[in-house]
């Protein structure tokens, strides 16, 4: 297909290139520039160098609180969600009748979980007079003030994310089903117990998918907004005040866009560093078929 000249393909990707420039590349650099200014909406911007960053990293207590909560949230949700998704995928991966039914049922929360309606449902489920407390009191426990103390409030928004393990599970399941069954038969003939086959065959072959899910889930968890915004409003005592909430309020409530951009860049750098660490470390734990090392 070379008769149309070398630029033909370029015309097809041109919309993407324009979008990339206008809506991604320029805003990306723009926010870096803004982060070095004291830009506020309706006012001019003046260049203040690293002042925003200095404030964020030294004197901003809200940032420190928000940062710690965000890290905690990501560190809890991502591994738990992946482990649970893998566990259920493992159970589903056999000659079960009704596998399609279960797969669908488990996937439904991933379809709806990001919606405001589900966030509203969560808020009412964990309210003082909500579903969970009604269940607790009916079996003789005391009602819990879920949104009244930091630990339980964070638990509610964590649970909302764990609830959506279906998409990761479906990816794990597809990978499990593509593993050659003869590997297990060979291992069984050699006398390997099931758990031994899991660690020696299944897990290594799944590492590329685990890696993929890990990166995607991490990048998304760092950007969680709807849950805390609707369910807990960041409270109590900022215990669910994730960084995206802080950035949103700084930029669109206080209109302090220079400072908000600086926080966004700190968050971006954190995500980047963790992604790069994951990529770098993947050489040591991700197994690709046809790889010479094993």
């Amino acid at each position: 297909m070379s008769g149309d000249g070398r630029l033909l393909g370029f015309w097809y990707v041109l919309p993407y290139l324009i979008g990339l420039m206008v809506f991604t590349a320029i805003p990306f650099l723009g926010s870096l520039y803004l982060s070095f200014t004291d830009y506020r909406l309706m006012q001019g911007a003046s260049f203040i160098g690293l002042e925003n960053y200095a404030d964020i990293l030294t004197s901003d207590r809200t940032f420190r609180r928000s940062f710690n909560v965000t890290m905690l949230y990501v560190l809890i949700t991502v591994p738990l969600k992946l482990a649970f998704a893998l566990f259920i995928a493992g159970i589903l991966n056999s000659k079960l009748k009704g596998i399609g039914f279960f797969r669908t049922a488990y996937y439904v929360p991933s379809i709806l979980g990001g919606s405001i309606a589900v966030a509203v449902l969560w808020r009412y489920m964990f309210a003082d007079t909500g579903l969970i407390n009604m269940m607790l009191t009916s079996i003789g426990f005391e009602a819990i003030n879920w949104f009244g103390n930091p630990g339980t409030a964070l638990f509610t928004i964590t649970l909302l994310r764990l609830w959506q393990f279906g998409s990761a599970m479906v990816i794990f399941l597809a990978a499990l089903q593509s593993i050659d069954k003869s590997l297990y038969e060979a291992a069984a003939i050699d006398g390997a117990k099931p758990w031994r086959s899991f660690f020696a065959i299944t897990l290594p072959l799944l590492t590329p998918v685990i890696f993929f899910n890990l990166i995607m889930q991490m990048v998304q968890a760092f950007q969680e907004f709807n849950g805390p915004y609707v369910i807990t409003q960041g409270g109590p005592l900022k215990s669910t005040y994730l960084l995206p909430l802080y950035i949103y309020e700084m930029a669109f409530k206080k209109f302090d866009m220079g400072y908000a951009s600086a926080i966004a860049w700190v968050l971006f750098v954190v995500i980047m560093v963790l992604t790069l660490v994951a990529f770098w470390s993947s050489k040591h734990w991700v197994y690709y078929a046809g790889d010479k090392r094993s």
């Binding site: 926010s31 049922a105 990816i171």
Partner: protein, 301 residues
Amino acid sequence: MSDSNIHSDKAIEDAEKFLAVQKRRETVTLAIRYTILTVVGLIMLYPLIWLIGASFKTNTEIFAGAGFMPVNPTIDGYAEGWQTSTPYTFGRFFWNTFLIIAPKTIFTVISCTLVAYGFARFEFPGKKILFVTVIGTLLLPNVVTRIPQYLLFRDLGWLDTYLPLWVPSALAGDAFFVFMLLQFLRAIPRDMEEAARVDGANSFQTLIYVVVPMLVPAMISVALFQFMWTMNDFLGPLIYVSSVEKFPVSLALKLSIDTAESFEWNRILAMSVLTLLPSLVVFFVSQKYFVEGISAGGVKG
């Protein structure tokens, strides 16, 4: 001879015993698997089941117990919730949602198909670098571009319109879909396209008459995912849409829990059910496309 017969009889007996043990073990693990799957499934789906049940209860009954079956089913929650505390009904908000979703979905499918075709079937200068940016944008957190985007749309005079929600999609802004279509295109053999080109079709005719018919399932997957995500999108409208008359359902629902209505749980739960309904229906009608889409590219969520 007889000696070896005795041996083989014993061997068969052993084998049968072994098989019986194995079979029993399989039955037990199967029972365990089903039990776990059912229990986990029930726990996961109960909130949604309760939501649907509670939306048909009276307000007092909602606080009376954790069961999901309404004693005296009523549609008051729906009737009153539909009216909202604003001058508009939920009908208006659903229409607004449709006005956001329909163009956005159509623009996404068209632009992403063109771009994926360009990447998959042509060589051009800078292609490699440009493709790296597709992966880069996939991983780039939106949070870092959001503020300048807002300022850009403000300067264009697009605030409080749906343009900020449409236009980036029309320019293949959702790199994920480009990536997904590329995966599909790579799996489609090129023979037919080459035959069409030999017969004198130009590259665009080839795309429309040869590639698109084969790519339809993938394009449906893209449309479905974009539909779901836009249905769930909250932050976009929250930042760009400020007048109530233009609110999509996500903003309207948030508004209703912030106002006096928040004491009327049945109304809000009823409207929550309605806003979840389109996604649920679309999902159940078109499951197979979802599974294909996820297996092709992996999916966020």
